[in-house]
Amino acid sequence: MKTNLTRPPAPELPREAVLRRRAHLVEELQRQQRTERPSRRPFYVIVAALVLLGIAAPALGLDDRLRRFVAGEPAPAPVKDVFGRQLPRSVIVERAHGVMSITTARGERVLLWAAPTRLGGRCTFLQIQGNQPSSPDPNGSLACETREGLAQPRTGPFISATWEEVRLRDGTLLRLVFGSLSQRSRIRALELRTQGRPPLVLRLARDFFLAEWPAHTRVGTLIGRDVRGRVVARRQLAPLLEQTATPPAVPALGRVIRARALYGGHEWYMFTATQGEELCVGANLGGPEEKGCNARRPERFTEGPIELYGPGASQDPGNTSGAWDRVWFYGFVAPAVARLVLLSSDCSREVLPIQGHAFLHLARGERLRAGAVPSLLIAYSVSGKEIGRARLQLIPAGRPESEYSRPLPPASCGASKQPAR
């Protein structure tokens, strides 16, 4: 085919298309006429006022408000609470602010919060909204960078990044990539390159970025480009974990109250729940609820029919005695276990309820102070035969850390006897 450079193709829009577009264009022009801005002077006045405000704000005591305006949305109380409770004390909680947010393809809202530390570092909190609305605590993950980490000398722009996998209530996996840039001014655009997918251009908010990881890919590289499109920074990310082909059917995460009591006028409780392949354990000991989810190990019950987590114990402020105010533990039992008995140091026995192969127990302070310290778990089969034991290695309160390797001796009260039904 010969290419005619003097007489290139001369297509035309169909007459009816021109007429239709004309009508709309006229409508649009009339609309613009109604809302037309006569002059740009007000714009310049506003810009000048903002510049003046920036200069005068500190003198007028408005710098904090102005900083909030410029720095982003201040974090709400639950987010500040997370920063305050779960991160080093150097975090300046009151300066926690929103950095950016995205809505995932499935509609979850993910927010990235940041707070500086008094030592010149920075902490971030990645919050996934709507994942566990029943919990008063925001759900997400936390990370901190030290001042040295942020300020270490670089020869060029640097991309600090990581990925996050969150199992949602319906069992699906939400995968995110987020991080920050140093020498932001030199990186005009950031893209994520993954196997077999077109490059994904990431939105940047100040120094930060946050995006949903492309589906069906595990390996990716972040590439920063300057204003001329040249690559000025590159970051290879660790491969994501293998994704479970078909997540198991999972019931909605429900709170299962296993233990409750009143303490200082507050109800305190603990719960376990399964969520996809994860076990979530939560506790509210008269304060904010704390909860964490961990992957359930596939190699369960390799050491017997009882998989025990704990025990944990705590003392209230002012209690300097050698007794704990509360002790808790939880875990799973193999399907062969029909009955689980707790033997305490005073030789008392207690049948622990098992729900969905999970158990959880919270021992109250008055029982502990009376010498009934949880000591041993014994599993029985349907026929009443003992099929396993797990020792609760509790350290007495007040013992120096150097003696932690010497837990309380187990109770010896004829543990092999059948429990009272």
């Binding site: 193709p9 001369a10 035309e12 709309h24």
Partner: protein, 196 residues
């Protein structure tokens, strides 16, 4: 000529119906120009609307305009040159305008449009070896058949510059044509065929 003067007077006063009339008369001139600069009919359609929205914004300059087509193609040159910025600026307005529904085309029309795009891409691939400014002169003087003076107004450069750019474009294309299939056509350009 009197009707043209009357149209310009109405345009200057911000008569949107007059702009509608101008659009009806010149939409295809602008569309063809945009298509020939982009080889993309859908994009050219968007750019055409953008040109008229931009023209509306600049209507206060109409007092200095004596050739509406040259004026519109001058705006179109800038719009094509800065197409991302232009489309972004008028994104909201463009979103309100209806798109030409190409799915309603007959198969023949659709094929013709694809053929045009393919042919135009080949032309642009050849012309792409010229500097952008020379390409603009070529598109205005050769493809849109503007005179040197009209191209001068469209581009806002002296007539001598238009002449020298066009001459350079012809010479360059002649050189490029050496062993290529474009030889004859390039010679057409070199001899001024197609130029008013």
């Amino acid at each position: 000529m009197g009707a043209d003067r009357e149209l310009r007077r109405r345009l200057r006063t911000g008569d949107s119906e007059a702009f509608g009339l101008l659009f009806e008369q010149e939409a295809n001139t602008v569309y063809r120009y945009c298509f020939r600069r982009t080889a993309d009919s859908a994009l050219a359609e968007e750019l055409t609307s953008t040109v008229f929205l931009q023209a509306w914004r600049r209507r206060d300059k109409l007092a200095e305009v004596d050739n509406l087509i040259a004026w519109l193609l001058g705006i179109a040159t800038n719009v094509v040159r800065n197409q991302r910025r232009s489309l972004r600026r008028y994104r909201a307005a463009l979103a309100r305008l209806p798109r030409y529904d190409s799915s309603a085309d007959h198969a023949e029309d659709a094929n013709a449009r694809l053929d045009d795009e393919r042919a135009m891409r080949a032309v642009l691939a050849a012309v792409d070896r010229l500097p952008r400014r020379d390409q603009e002169v070529l598109a205005l003087c050769v493809w849109s058949e503007l005179s040197y003076e009209e191209a001068t107004r469209a581009l806002g450069v002296p007539v001598g510059t238009v002449r020298s750019r066009l001459a350079r474009a012809r010479r360059r294309l002649r050189e490029l044509a050496g062993a290529s299939e474009h030889e004859k056509v390039s010679e057409d350009i070199a001899t001024g065929e197609g130029t008013r």
